[in-house]
Symmetry: C3
Subunit: 258 residues, 3 copies
């Protein structure tokens, strides 16, 4: 199985699929994660990959959000337990790789650079470098990356950390990680802080805490524990990002009302 994620829109992901299918002899299921990640936004892609990939069984995960395509940044394969991740060395794979490793019984990530010297283009390494590497990893097997001729072990990679919120007695200072397609504002504040609370102040305004969207009337704001386990700022049947005027990367301050 190979999952595919990118900021390519269409139809470029189809070229990657064609390359993979042309280079694999064993059957391979291709599953799209998303191809509409915000352009060149490595951190947002890294967040979504971390949240989605752990639900998959062992697989090769191709993920290309690569504003530095064609520069001397490395092309990587990372092994995380029974999974492999394939993409640029800009940190986009790391949060997902660490999360996948936690669920495995192995000790550490292994990283390999991909030989990209025969790339047909300097601007579409998804097709010319990463898709062939994903196919080669699928054919060899995740436990045999050392045997893939195009791969060379590399001691260190560019890291990327999704920031933690700061928890205090009277509240929490966090950050908007992403806004999802529903307009839900996903923060990095752990959902546990809402336990037992009826409401919370968000940047000064009092907002009810609800277990579900339907806990408040349509059009009303709420704070809830989202499916990622973080505090989300939502609107029942509406867009939280508009109602709270919050965008990815912005600071959000929660306070516990007395």
């Amino acid at each position: 199985m190979i999952t595919l994620a990118s900021d390519f829109g269409t139809p470029y992901p189809a070229a990657m699929k064609g390359v993979i299918l042309a280079r694999t002899e064993t059957p391979v299921d291709l599953v799209d994660v998303a191809h509409d990640f915000p352009r060149g936004d490595v951190r947002t892609a890294a967040f979504w990959l971390r949240e989605v990939l752990p639900y998959f069984p062992p697989a090769v995960h191709l993920a290309v959000v690569d504003p530095g395509v064609g520069t001397d940044r490395n092309a990587l394969v990372i092994r995380a337990g029974e999974h492999a991740l394939v993409g640029p060395d800009n940190g986009v794979l790391l949060p997902a790789a660490r999360r996948l490793l936690e669920a495995s019984e192995t000790d550490a990530l292994s990283a390999f650079t991909i030989d990209d010297s025969s790339a047909e283009s300097a601007t579409f390494h998804g097709r010319d470098v990463f898709a062939p590497a994903a196919a080669a990893v699928h054919e060899a097997g995740v436990d045999a990356l050392e045997t893939v001729p195009s791969l060379t072990p590399v001691p260190s990679v560019v890291d990327l950390t999704i920031p933690d919120a700061r928890l205090e007695e009277t509240g929490a200072t966090g950050e908007v990680l992403v806004v999802d397609d529903f307009g839900n504002v996903v923060t990095n504040v752990p959902g546990a802080v809402l336990e037992g609370r009826e409401d919370v102040r968000v940047d000064g305004q009092r907002v009810p805490v609800g277990e579900t969207f339907a806990a408040v009337p349509p059009g009303e704001k709420l704070a809830t524990v989202g499916s990622h386990g973080f505090v989300e700022l939502d609107v029942n049947d509406g867009r939280g990002d508009e109602a709270f005027s919050l965008a990815p990367g912005e600071v959000v301050r929660l306070e516990w009302p007395i």
Copy 2:
């Protein structure tokens, strides 16, 4: 085979696919129906599912448009002949289920509630309740729902009926069911009423009847029998919804010119 439909956008459907693939041992083809249904619009989703799912061979159909997620609404599996439908108990599955039943030789729908007590989140039952149920149904087989531990027969479910148009001697009073991505206005007036007619009055304006879009010049309005068998109000190489100023749910009045 499992089809997937939702109003989730991306990348949430990928989490559902991961869960299914992690829980199935027999091979499973995953086919997307749509993940851009209008948010929380149960009736529109119900219409599209009814129109599209009958073209599939026997399958498990996962369909999640679920504004009441996390409330005490039931989670359902419905058996309709050789097909099974999995989704919330808000009517979204019913029109498709009845249509699938018509094509089968069995007598009645069977419905089952899904045990959702171990859901990881209260806001993403697509991933935590419906996808596991779809995987379990796929593994057990549609004719063996009674053996799936997480399922309990339930005597009645929330129904949803897509309204019929009112036909009269001088015309028809119907409703806009959906506007498709082309801008074609799909009404609930049976296409048969256009037979033998050269034109029709739509909310008072005379419009030619054409068998194909190309029956009128580009930019011109027409009434046609759409692929769903209903009267559609279209524009050749343009958007019918804009030209007719019609939106889903609005009443549309057709009259036969003398």
Copy 3:
């Protein structure tokens, strides 16, 4: 394997997939190329199919951009080496078919019309004519099109040529073929003209030539050789179409600075 491309948006492509899956007994992988081609824009679709389909292994390629649906235009299957293409006789298949033929060892394209007399609708031949034909071709095999009852050899088809640029000593006069989802302006000027150049005049303004987007600072324009092998007019971390005020079909004039 069957690839699918159209301008249908959702959920109509799912009806095509259902039809194919209901009519195939041998396993078939379905791979989406794109379903958001510009509506009715035969030439743009033809360009993308030519650029993407050659990366696939031998397959049946279903491609429906069909503004003349339901008129007396033919429905076609074209054999190009080990590939088959299925779609309307409006030229959309031809550039891809010729490109696929170049890579094969066979001599010529063979074309067949599809019997469309039993189409359920006049407006959705993707579902009623082309998908059944794609399934039939998949079942029979690309080398046995002569045995498919619904197909009849046809001596000639509507052609479509993607125009070549005019190359001169002091520059090139070309055309914008497409703008991709990144906003990159893809011209028909062969990339080789940029070799050894540091900059180029585009419609009079001097623009640096770069091998990668990152060759210029974010927000700056550049000319590069895109992944299709043509000159592309781009902006690093921005949209080339907006910066250059260029749209598909427009003339673009390149001059070599002295």
